[in-house]
Amino acid sequence: MEKILADFGIQPILLLAQVVNFLVLLFILKKLLYQPILKVLDERKKKIEQSLIDAQSIELKLVQTEEDREKKLAKASEEAKQILDEATKSANLVIEEAHLKASKDMEEILQKGQESINAERSKMHQEIREELADLIEVSLEKVAGKILTTKDQKELVQKTIKQL
């Protein structure tokens, strides 16, 4: 054993030197290489995960917004339709009312016209009658003046007129 070790040139102090070398290297690399690299890798991993989550939520929001927009659009168009319907209804109502009123007015006018015509006519009748009575009176006077008294004449005229 001793001889083998001697053949290979084994010296405890050299072993120790190598052990110290390794420990120094271990300490320095741990502080300067492994920790910073692993930290950066970890941070990057987290960042990627975070951005993936963000992207997902953004996509979700986009879909939601799209849905919202469509809903709003549908609602708006429905409202517009409703408003249009109402407007049409009220317009119809107004037109109908106007129609109604117009027809009423017309009837009234017609009635009034009729009435005034009637009144005119009866007035004319009256006038004609009176004129006729006068005419008859005059002609009767001329025809029967000599026979009948004035009083009889008048009675006769009145009777005749009534019979007419």
Partner: protein, 249 residues
């Protein structure tokens, strides 16, 4: 120029009591490379990575996921150790393939006449280095086992009296296995890299142009595979040892 096959690393000089071998020098250079790389990453870190940062991130992330698959909730603790084993061994293996290794050096007057002393030598072609790593790997494994199982649970793994002492025998066998781990980890790495060095030196001696190229490719693969093997074995040992006894389904 003939290269002698030398198992021992060559001593370049002394730093106090510490003999600075050529492998130790390269170990320091490798460490410096890794530390500079780490500094570069640390102070140039961006959320949106450049090409270089991307490459490093892929390496670290792959390592982390591999460890996570086996260690689950202990990943945070195991990962830095296992990853450092991997990076240190990988970079030192590949760094050892650079030109200048085992060729730049000086002659020294030794006991047996003049010997060539290369200034640079691949770290893991020195058993000191691989044995150091293996010892540390097994030691950390046991420390984690004690941490996760408690001293009592840890000792129970080796000295159990269940099944009329059958498990005592099993425990003893496993205890021997722990020493085997040290030997297998260190010698596997050392053997592969040392053999690679020898092959490259030999081929280069036969014909230095073009012909060694396929072997360099082979050594690139071997360097990676050995680093990965060391890492995975350490990881598996850690996971197995720090697992509670009843946990294995």
């Amino acid at each position: 120029m003939e290269h002698e096959i030398v198992l021992k690393p060559e001593v370049l000089g002394y730093l106090g009591v510490l003999p600075v071998t050529n492998t130790l020098l390269v170990a320091w250079i490798t460490m410096a490379i890794l530390i500079i790389l780490a500094l570069f990453i640390k102070f140039r870190m961006k959320t949106i990575p450049g090409k270089f940062q991307n490459l490093i991130e892929i390496v670290i992330d792959t390592g982390y996921k591999t460890v996570e698959e086996m260690a689950h909730n202990k990943t945070k603790l195991f990962f830095p150790i296992v990853m450092t084993f991997f990076l240190y061994i990988l970079i030192s293996n590949w760094f050892g393939l650079f030109p200048g290794f085992a060729t730049i050096g000086f002659y020294e007057q030794g006991e047996h006449g003049q010997t060539f002393v290369p200034l640079l030598r691949s770290i893991n072609s020195d058993l000191n280095m691989t044995l150091g790593l293996a010892l540390l790997s097994v030691a950390i494994t046991h420390i984690f086992a004690i941490k996760f199982l408690g001293l009592k649970g840890y000792l129970k793994k080796w000295f159990s009296l269940e099944m009329f002492g059958v498990f005592l025998f099993v425990g003893l066998l496993e205890l021997v296995g722990e020493f085997t781990k040290i030997v297998s980890l260190s010698f596997r790495l050392f053997g592969n890299i040392f053999a690679g060095e020898v092959v490259l030196a030999t081929i280069s001696n036969i014909f230095a142009f073009i012909v060694p190229l396929p072997f360099y490719f082979l050594e690139l693969i071997v360097g990676f595979v050995q680093a990965a093997v060391f890492m995975m074995l350490t990881l598996v040992f850690m996971v197995l040892l720090s697992e509670k006894h009843g946990d294995e389904h």
